[in-house]
């Protein structure tokens, strides 16, 4: 091995990405808990956590750019760094989803409203677990396992549909609460998008191994529209 400097710095950035991922996971779980407990103080803390996430995201991006400029990575190293730039952005956006859920907690205030919290918690649990494993695969460059993760998105989608049905039902029963009920749809939507973005991380893991950019999201958008 003749590229100790490059390898050392690559590993450092990988560690930072794992750390960013765990901040995002924690922010998402905390956001859902703040909703469950209707805890506005806890929701406020997630805003602070999101700032930390954003700062780390920029620090990682900067480190990647410096490494590209100074070490002239090629082939697999280059693909790894390009993929890390992408994954870094995905993680930051997931952090925003957590913040979005915290915002819902705040905007709901003390309004009496039925929250499909069991399904929401389940969605959050699946999505964060997907993220956790997808990042593990990304760092260990395990494309085989990574390529199996996106299939779990189906469970998240089913939960989303279930929540959607419950929310529509609540809206019909309580037309006065339509605005507030609509906020709950945001929550489900954010969790659903988070799982989608995990798929992107898995795509990048395959890309590092093969150099091929492959779409793993198998949902047929047109068909989905027809059935709605």
């Amino acid at each position: 091995m003749t590229r100790e400097t490059l390898d050392r710095q690559l590993h450092h950035i990988q560690d930072e990405i794992l750390l960013l991922g765990s901040l995002v996971e924690q922010a998402m779980l905390n956001a859902v808990q703040s909703l469950k407990n209707r805890d506005r103080a806890a929701a406020h803390k997630i805003y602070q956590a999101d700032q930390d996430i954003n700062e780390k995201r920029f620090a990682i991006e900067n480190a990647i750019l410096i490494l590209m400029a100074t070490q002239q990575p090629m082939a697999r190293d280059l693909r790894m760094l390009a993929a890390m730039l992408e994954v870094n952005t995905e993680l930051e956006r997931m952090g925003d989803y957590a913040k979005g859920i915290a915002k819902v907690t705040q905007r709901l205030g003390d309004v009496e409203i039925k929250i499909p919290i069991q399904e929401i918690e389940q969605m959050a649990s699946i999505a964060t677990s997907m993220l956790h494993r997808a990042l593990g695969c990304f760092i260990s460059e395990n494309a085989m396992v990574a390529s199996q993760i996106p299939a779990e998105d189906d469970q998240v989608d089913r939960l989303y549909e279930e929540i959607y049905r419950q929310i529509v039902h609540t809206m019909i029963e309580n037309p006065d609460l339509i605005d507030h009920t609509n906020l709950l749809l945001w929550v489900a939507h954010n969790l659903e998008r988070m799982a989608d973005r995990v798929t992107n991380i898995c795509e990048r893991t395959v890309f590092i191994n093969t150099g091929e950019l492959l779409e793993m999201d198998t949902t047929d958008d047109e068909e989905e529209l027809d059935s709605e």
């Binding site: 003749t2 590229r3 002239q72 990575p73 090629m74 082939a75 697999r76 693909r79």
Partner: protein
């Protein structure tokens, strides 16, 4: 070795083509079974570690190896459908159509003008020499810098200018292919980039084959790249040949990957 090109030209025409070529220095086989099809009006880079035979291959393309005692080429190099090593081929004629630029700028100790005019004159050029010198220096992106000092000694030019003058000298005899052996290794980064820009400019009319130790240069400046390495028996072999954009992002062979990511040896 099987040719590994991805994108061959539609009409199957190559500027020059090495076919199952072996090159020996005495009993030592320096290059083994090399088949390399070079596309016209493209820049092809040859990269690889020291001793892998890349300069040997380059010199084979215009029979420059003829000057090395004990060196012989087996297999063939096809140029316009003819093996340039066939007995009836005049190597001087080959070198006229396939010019060469060397590692260290080597202008003649004469004026700038004479450096360009020399090759044309000994080839019996009868046109207007002033026009030829100007036209050639313009092509070599040197005219603006030297037009008021054509009688000045070429040795007074900077290294980068001298190298462009050597390129002009090669162009003056109207070649089809220009071989460049590490043309920038003695130049500073700015002069290097000027040569690379010039290569790009020239590639609309000429085929360029460049040997370089500088992988970044191959990545920046070439359309196609051939990677050579040394076999366990110390013969040079071509491992992979393809589009530069592919070879530096998704090499097919692990040996290429190890070399270009710097994890060789």
């Amino acid at each position: 070795m099987e040719n590994q090109m991805n994108h061959q030209p539609q009409d199957g025409q190559f500027a020059i083509q090495a076919s199952h070529m072996d090159i020996y220095y005495g009993n030592f086989r320096a290059v083994k079974d090399c088949s390399l099809e070079v596309l016209p009006r493209k820049i092809t880079a040859i990269i690889g570690p020291s001793g892998c035979g890349k300069s040997t291959v380059l010199r084979a393309f215009n029979r420059m190896n003829d000057f090395i005692p004990g060196c012989r080429v087996e297999g063939g190099i096809l140029f316009h459908g003819q093996n340039i090593y066939a007995p009836d081929v005049d190597p001087v004629q080959v070198r006229k159509l396939i010019g060469m630029v060397f590692q260290k700028p080597n202008p003649f100790p004469k004026s700038i003008y004479e450096n360009v005019a020399w090759g044309a004159r000994i080839n019996g050029y009868t046109g207007n020499m002033d026009d030829l010198v100007e036209e050639t220096l313009v092509k070599a992106a040197l005219w603006d810098e030297v037009k008021d000092n054509l009688k000045k000694s070429a040795l007074a030019l900077s290294g980068g200018q001298q190298q462009r003058l050597c390129i002009a000298r090669a162009l003056a005899v109207k070649p089809e292919i220009i071989l460049m052996d590490e043309p920038c290794s003695a130049l500073d980064p700015i002069a290097t980039l000027k040569i690379e820009d010039l290569m790009r400019e020239l590639s609309s009319n000429y085929t360029i084959i460049i040997v370089t130790h500088n992988m970044q240069q191959a990545a920046r400046a070439s359309d196609y790249t051939a990677f050579f390495t040394m076999d366990p028996d110390r013969s040079g072999i071509m491992v992979e040949y393809g589009e530069t954009s592919q070879l530096f992002t998704r090499p097919r062979d692990q040996r290429t990957e190890d070399y270009i990511t710097g994890r060789f040896g």
